[in-house]
């Protein structure tokens, strides 16, 4: 699964002639090793386990009766319409959530940057609040918000005569309702990181743009966004992969219903593992999730790694 990618050869040769030679290399190794070890134990080892387990039909606690089925679990996934619809729901959720988060998040960060620093700071601190709240509390808050009788959402909708809106109860609107909750929770993340990225853009560039007569939009498109690209790619990677694995909010708000219209891959895998007790199949679903993520976000990873050469 790991994308092995060697740096261009020219760089390697330059390294051997560079002034800081082997000892620096060792220092670099020592610097990277602890982090790599932590990730290896907590993530790569389980990944290996999941890969092996996904080729068995087995239940937790009944390891001795496990049967090697090779790729049957994967075939089973693609034969199950519920699994496929969970995959599609997950993809739809990710696209909607990511699009809205990036749009609102980057927009608000740029807007905040244009205010005087003091006001910007206070507002940014307030805007950061939802991010700091536990997902359990977020679902609690939004269950209350979406309550058709007492909830604020319906109260506001009634101003516009929209109180008939299906919200969490209708198969056509439930997924989007959860997207809204997710956006509420995750936009602050985009604002915080984008704001950190914006600090690195030198003030001179803005002045230069102003002298060149660029308007607000022109500055945004020609100066801000190009310099933010690396931050934005990292954000899309992190936020997108988180959204693709959404679990807490769905579990708390709808449990995957109505009629599986909000069932995500994580919800589906969880049900297989701890309700249906099919650990092997659940691991296959986890592996498929991982493969889908690599297919969707792999190109961005490569892109982001390459951008090193550009800087």
């Amino acid at each position: 699964m790991t994308r092995i990618q060697l740096a261009p050869r020219g760089r390697a040769q330059r390294r051997s002639t560079s002034s800081y030679a082997r000892k620096d290399l060792r220092l670099a190794l020592y610097l990277v090793l602890p982090a790599a070890a932590a990730i290896f134990i907590v993530m790569i080892v389980p990944l290996g386990f999941a890969l092996i387990a996904s080729t068995f039909e087995y239940s937790l606690g009944q390891e001795e009766s496990a049967v090697f089925v090779f790729l049957d679990n994967y075939a089973k996934f693609f034969a199950d319409p519920v699994a496929i619809s969970s995959l599609l729901n997950t993809a739809l959720f990710t696209v909607m959530s990511l699009f809205l988060c990036m749009l609102i998040g980057v927009g608000m960060s740029v807007l905040l940057k244009s205010l005087n620093p003091r006001t910007g700071n206070i507002l940014r601190a307030i805007f950061a609040m939802p991010l700091l709240i536990s997902p359990i509390i977020v679902s609690l808050i939004w269950r209350y918000m979406y309550d058709p009788t007492y909830g604020l959402v319906y109260y506001v909708l009634s101003w516009f005569g929209l109180e008939e809106w299906g919200g969490l109860t209708d198969t056509t609107t439930a997924l989007f309702s959860i997207v809204i909750t997710d956006v509420w929770h995750a936009v602050p993340f985009i604002i915080l990181v984008t704001s950190a990225g914006l600090t690195v853009i030198p003030e001179e560039l803005y002045e230069a743009a102003r002298i060149d007569g660029a308007g607000t939009i022109g500055t945004l498109v020609n100066v801000t966004l190009p310099l933010l690209v690396k931050t934005l790619i990292v954000l899309i990677l992190i936020r997108g992969t988180d959204a693709f694995r959404v679990f807490d909010l769905i579990y708390g708000l709808t449990g995957g219903g109505p009629a599986n219209s909000t069932s995500s891959l994580s919800i589906y895998a969880y049900k297989q593992a701890y309700e249906n007790n099919e650990m092997g199949y659940a691991m296959a679903v986890a592996m498929i999730t991982l493969i889908a993520l690599v297919i969707l976000f792999g190109p961005l990873m490569r892109n982001s790694a390459r951008s090193k050469g550009d800087s």
Partner: protein, 274 residues
């Protein structure tokens, strides 16, 4: 002039709307935490009600909320500290030494981040149990560190890459050792990134439920475990869970308030320009 005024009005309108969108749901929960159950669900929202502290008293007496608070603090402080140290070193090591394998390691970190939670729980549980650390806070700390590292490393790598190499070289020519140059020249420049990592790891660790519940025992439970027991699938005690939610979110919000200013300002952001 009028066009400018219009733009300003539009700008502030957007900000006020976003402010309401952000604050109102949180305010509702905080207000509910001071209400009696009967006052929470009324046809017309009760704005004037007799505030009560009963929910808070219950939260602390019905469960070990004080203990959970301490455990959460220990887990969040330890894991955040370790994440910052490891991520800063690793990202510096991966960007500033022209390592041949830097890109593959960085990508490997990110693949780690993609592993679904459901695949992680069982192996980690078995490992933690095998080394005799089940029921200690080491389990959640280790899990939180690893889950936060990929993002932290990637974010900080971006910052280190943006620092002109000359800056470091100049410091070393001035007689600094490599590590001195790192401490004095490089580190200050990445402070906004570290601040972002701080907030993001701390909030994650403070709020994480799954590992904090499954890898621990009742002596080492954290706040989210306590809240989940009030919210539970069987019945929701709205007043009690609102109080517990408030106790849990307020410290994070206060810390966020203080730390986030480093994100926007940095400390010596000017150094980059030089």
């Amino acid at each position: 002039m009028t066009k400018r005024a219009l733009v300003t009005i539009a700008k502030w309108l957007v900000i006020v709307l976003f402010l309401l969108w952000t604050v109102v749901p949180i305010a509702l929960i905080i207000v509910n935490s001071f209400k009696r159950a009967k006052d929470i669900f009324t046809d017309v929202p009760k704005i004037f009600f007799e505030p009560t502290l009963d929910n808070y008293v219950n939260a602390f007496t019905k469960s070990d909320f004080g203990l959970y608070f301490i455990n959460s603090t220990v887990v969040a402080v330890c894991s955040t500290f370790i994440v910052i140290v490891l991520a800063t070193f690793a990202s510096y090591g991966l960007t500033s030494f022209e390592l041949r394998f830097a890109n593959s390691v960085a990508n490997g970190f990110l693949v780690g981040k993609l592993v679904p939670g459901i695949a992680m729980m069982l192996p980690i549980f078995v490992i933690i149990n095998a080394v005799g650390l089940r029921g200690t806070l080491v389990g959640p700390v280790l899990a939180h560190v690893a889950l936060n590292l990929p993002f932290a490393v990637w974010l900080l790598m971006g910052f280190f890459r943006d620092i002109p190499r000359e800056l470091e070289h100049a410091a070393m020519i001035d007689g600094c050792t490599r590590m001195q140059a790192f401490w004095r020249v490089m580190l200050p420049v990445v402070v906004p990134g570290i601040a972002a990592v701080f907030i993001l790891s701390a909030q994650y660790s403070w709020n994480e439920l799954l590992f904090s519940l499954q890898l621990t025992t009742l002596e080492t439970y954290t706040l989210p475990v306590g809240i989940a027991s009030f919210v539970g699938a069987i019945s929701v005690d709205w007043g009690l869970s609102s109080a517990a939610a408030t106790v849990t979110m307020v410290p994070m919000i206060i810390i966020g308030f203080f730390v986030q200013k480093y994100i926007a300002e940095g400390t010596t952001g000017g150094a980059v320009k030089g």
